[in-house]
């Protein structure tokens, strides 16, 4: 377990006590998302509805087991779609 810095989007600040950048203890994308919901239950429905995670610039769908470390740049993003 290590402390990860996660960038949310500004619209989520009202669920995180005004913070747009938060830290959670986790070792994978999935555990990071779970930790976010545990810390900020208001995020639950939004994460459940589907989001993407950008790790070091790469946008990832469906990578719950991908390891994360404190050196990763992590952004929550809207779920990517395509035409």
């Amino acid at each position: 377990m290590s402390e990860l810095t996660v960038h949310l989007w500004a619209g989520l600040r009202r669920f995180t006590g005004g913070h747009e950048v938060v830290t959670v203890e986790a070792s994978t994308i999935g555990k990071m998302l779970d930790a976010l919901v545990e810390a900020y239950p208001g995020l639950g429905p939004i994460l459940e509805a589907g989001i993407s995670v950008a790790v070091d610039g790469e946008i990832i769908n469906g990578g719950r087991h991908r390891p994360l470390s404190p050196s990763n740049e992590i952004y929550l993003m809207q779920r990517m779609k395509g035409g």
Binding site: G11, A49, D56, E58, I59, K81, G82
Partner: protein, 747 residues
């Protein structure tokens, strides 16, 4: 593949004939409506004539009594209790308590002929209570607008927002107010784009069969057979693995065939008709009234620029309606709109708004064209005001690898600067312009997408390869995948057959969307080919009695890896394949994953137009598309994507729009009135493929399908300002609108 590893491949980058070419030029290729089955019935759908109405009563008795009618279904025949997007899909498949848009399905019939089915539809009696409706996004977001669905807003919407706002989105960084203070010029404008349709020439068609035992089959034109399976199963309460979905050849999709419309109806009708297969083919007006158009948008943009062209801050607030359901791509529009620019202070706000229109579906780079229209129009106008070259300004502010994107994360390998440099050097940029002529440039961006992917490959008895992929081939992906597999195996392109297979043959695949087929299926096929190679090396090693690590694969044959491995002549794929039954059985490879390493694609377009001052008509004189492909596997089909995307964008810019009357009905549901570009509207579309290889793909592929639709909207508006001095901020820029703007400017 890193930049310094660009090399010439034997096959990748060549232009062989596509494997499905012969079928398609002889009329043999089988599309959605081209198939029949024994005992087949024909389906037809009754649709709402009202934009918004309570359904008080549906009487199907006369239809059921008509000779030849075998089944009638309404919403009462569907399971209840669905939630979220499953409920949205079911509600869009067939109206429940209310009809939510002109064209919303109310009931469906299956009969022994198409004529009887149509006749039966006319015999269904529906009692409506017509409700107030709203179709325009700016009207729909008003606090007193007709409420389309109570409780549809998701958790992102703060208290107190207007009732039709179902999603709210906000992101940014830096200090925009400080950024605007640092600017020499700050401008703010409002832009509007109208809804357009994907406009594929093949209407939706399917042949569905479902028995009382819950086992079913479907033949359907779709971008994604597993999506059809999953969505039909959800809407009808079926066991997904019991439904076998086979994709037909597909007559265009552009995002519009990534979801369901009437497909569940054919299954519901079939089950009610004792399991007889039911074919449903939409008419063009059904396609336009009831299948996914794109969203319409209303957008405010404010930008600050220094007098030497540096962007200091930007603020974008977008409102989009995507029909009577959540899902307008306002989020993607905001992500993409400022992506080509390195800019420290940005603020983005978005509203997804319900309106009485059909549920929007994805359309090529969903959202990005609208956002680009707003931002690229304003940047161009500011360049003109400050007398700056629009290419210089784009290059000066261009994002590069390692820069933070406007939407947050740091960019990996990207090729925007290379695209802009190639554009600036292109001869089209220095072609002389005459009176009433103008030039416009604009950039565009799309992320590209990976998604769930499953590919299987097998070596045949004669040493050829068959590849099973789950991504339907819309624009030549069988050719590109065959090239990559042949390159990897060291065999001829003609010795690879790529089959797009049904849902029973592979694990789940996402559709051909997000420009992913050549990236994701191509990457998975390459990995699968490498697995087959490893096995073939093992067979050779066993035959030679040496260690399998001592065997390497060179030009389609196993050979000892070095002098220490032993002296054996190369063993060709044909030789290994011929004996495989005696050496351990079938040789194959497969790969299942969500492939990582997606590479984004930037493009830049340059257009020259001439505007007729008498009529307001805009003629496209010259058109150039420059875009980063990463690596063009089959350059002809990459060019084809660039050209096709550009022309769809030209249609969006100049002609195409959904026109709703005061009654909330679509006024132009045929191709005569929904006017898409025809050959005589256009010049040749010049292309230049830039190749900045994507390190995340074995051949450097980025995906090229979507970015090309994005720049034409602003590029043409920019060119029109160059030709006339008039700035058009509401699409489409029809002759009527341009003429009115010209007249207003002269008063």
């Amino acid at each position: 593949m890193p930049k310094d590893e660009i090399k010439d491949f034997r096959l990748v980058g060549t232009r062989p004939n596509r494997p499905d070419g012969l079928d398609k030029v002889t009329g043999r290729a089988r599309y959605g409506a081209d198939i029949t089955a024994p005992g087949m019935l024909w389906g037809a759908v009754l649709r709402s004539p009202h934009a918004h109405a309570k359904i008080l009563k549906i009487d199907t008795s006369k239809a059921e009594a008509l000779s030849g009618v075998k089944a009638v279904v309404t919403r009462a025949d569907f399971p209840t209790g669905l939630t979220g997007e499953d409920w949205n899909l079911q509600e869009n498949t067939m109206a429940g308590e209310k009809a939510l848009y002109d064209g919303h399905a109310i009931a469906a019939v299956a009969a022994t002929s198409s004529q009887i089915a149509q006749e039966a539809v006319r015999l269904i009696e529906v009692e409506y209570e017509v409700l107030p409706h709203v179709t325009d996004v700016d009207d729909a977001i008003k606090p007193d607008a007709p409420v389309i669905r109570e409780g549809a807003a998701d958790a992102t919407v703060p208290e107190g927002m207007p009732p039709n706002v179902v999603k709210y989105f906000e992101f940014g960084r830096g200090d925009v107010d400080a950024g605007f203070k640092d600017a020499d010029l700050v401008m703010e404008r409002t832009y509007k784009t109208e809804a357009t349709h994907q406009g594929y020439i093949e209407p939706h068609a399917c042949l569905g069969q479902l028995g009382a035992d819950g086992k079913g089959e479907m033949w359907v034109c779709t971008q994604g057979q597993w999506y059809i399976r999953q969505m039909c199963s959800a809407v009808l309460g079926l066991n997904a693995a019991q439904l076998r979905v086979t994709p037909s050849e597909i007559g265009g999709g552009f995002g519009g065939k990534t979801t369901i419309f009437m497909e569940p109806l054919s299954l519901a009708l079939s089950q009610k008709a004792g399991g007889r297969p039911v074919k449903i083919v939409m008419s063009r007006s059904e396609v336009l009234r009831a299948t996914g158009p794109t969203a319409s948008a209303s957008m405010d943009v404010k930008i600050g620029m220094t007098k030497d062209g540096k962007l200091t801050a930007a603020r974008a607030e977008f409102r989009m309606q995507g029909g009577a359901f959540p899902g307008a791509p306002v989020d993607m529009a905001l992500y993409c709109c400022l992506a080509p620019y390195k800019i420290d202070n940005v603020e983005h706000i978005g509203y997804d708004v319900l309106a009485n229109r059909p549920k929007c579906a994805a359309y090529r780079a969903p959202g990005s064209p609208m956002g680009a229209f707003a931002v690229e129009s304003l940047i161009d106008e500011m360049c003109r005001k400050l007398d700056l070259d629009p290419m210089d300004v784009r290059l000066k502010n261009a994002v590069r690898e390692g820069d933070q994107a406007s939407y947050g994360p740091t960019f990996g390998s990207i090729g925007l600067a290379e695209v802009l440099e190639a554009t600036a050097k292109h001869p089209n940029l220095s072609a002389p312009l005459g009176p009433n002529q103008g030039r416009g440039v604009a950039s565009g961006y799309w992320f590209n997408h990976s998604g769930e992917t499953s590919v299987s490959l097998a070596i045949s008895e004669d040493g050829n390869a068959q590849v099973s992929v789950g991504t339907p081939d819309i624009g030549g992906s069988r050719a590109s995948i065959a090239l990559m597999v042949a390159e990897t195996l060291g065999i001829a392109y003609e010795d690879v057959r790529v089959n797009v297979v049904e849902t029973g043959s592979l694990g789940v695949n996402e559709p051909t969307h997000g420009s992913r087929a050549t990236f994701a299926s191509g990457k998975a096929a390459t990995v699968a080919a490498r697995a087959a190679i490893k096995e073939m090396c093992r067979r050779a090693a066993n035959e030679w009695g040496i260690d399998e690590e001592a065997v390497e694969w060179v030009e389609g044959a196993a050979q000892p890896a070095g002098p220490n491995a032993g002296e054996f002549p190369p063993m060709s794929i044909k030789e290994i394949a011929k004996n495989m039954g005696k050496t351990g059985g079938p040789i194959s490879g497969h790969h299942e994953s969500v492939p990582e390493g997606v590479g984004a694609s930037f493009g830049c377009h340059v257009v020259d137009v001439e505007v007729d001052p008498e009529t307001g008509h805009t003629k496209i004189l010259r058109y150039l598309v420059v875009q980063d492909a990463g690596r063009a596997i089959h350059p002809s089909y990459v060019e084809g994507q660039y050209q096709g995307g550009a022309v769809q964008g030209i249609g969006w810019a100049l002609n195409e729009e959904y026109v709703y009357g005061d009654d909330g009905r679509l006024q132009n549901p045929i191709f005569l009135d929904y006017r898409m570009p025809v050959a005589s509207d256009l010049p040749m579309i010049d292309t230049q493929i830039v190749e900045v290889p994507n390190p995340g793909h074995p051949f450097g592929v980025r995906g090229v399908g979507e970015t090309g639709i994005t720049p034409p909207l602003p590029a043409i508006a920019n060119a029109i300002q160059g030709a006339t001095g008039v700035r058009m901020s509401h699409l489409p820029m029809t002759p009527t609108k341009v003429l009115a703007a010209l007249k207003a400017s002269q008063e």
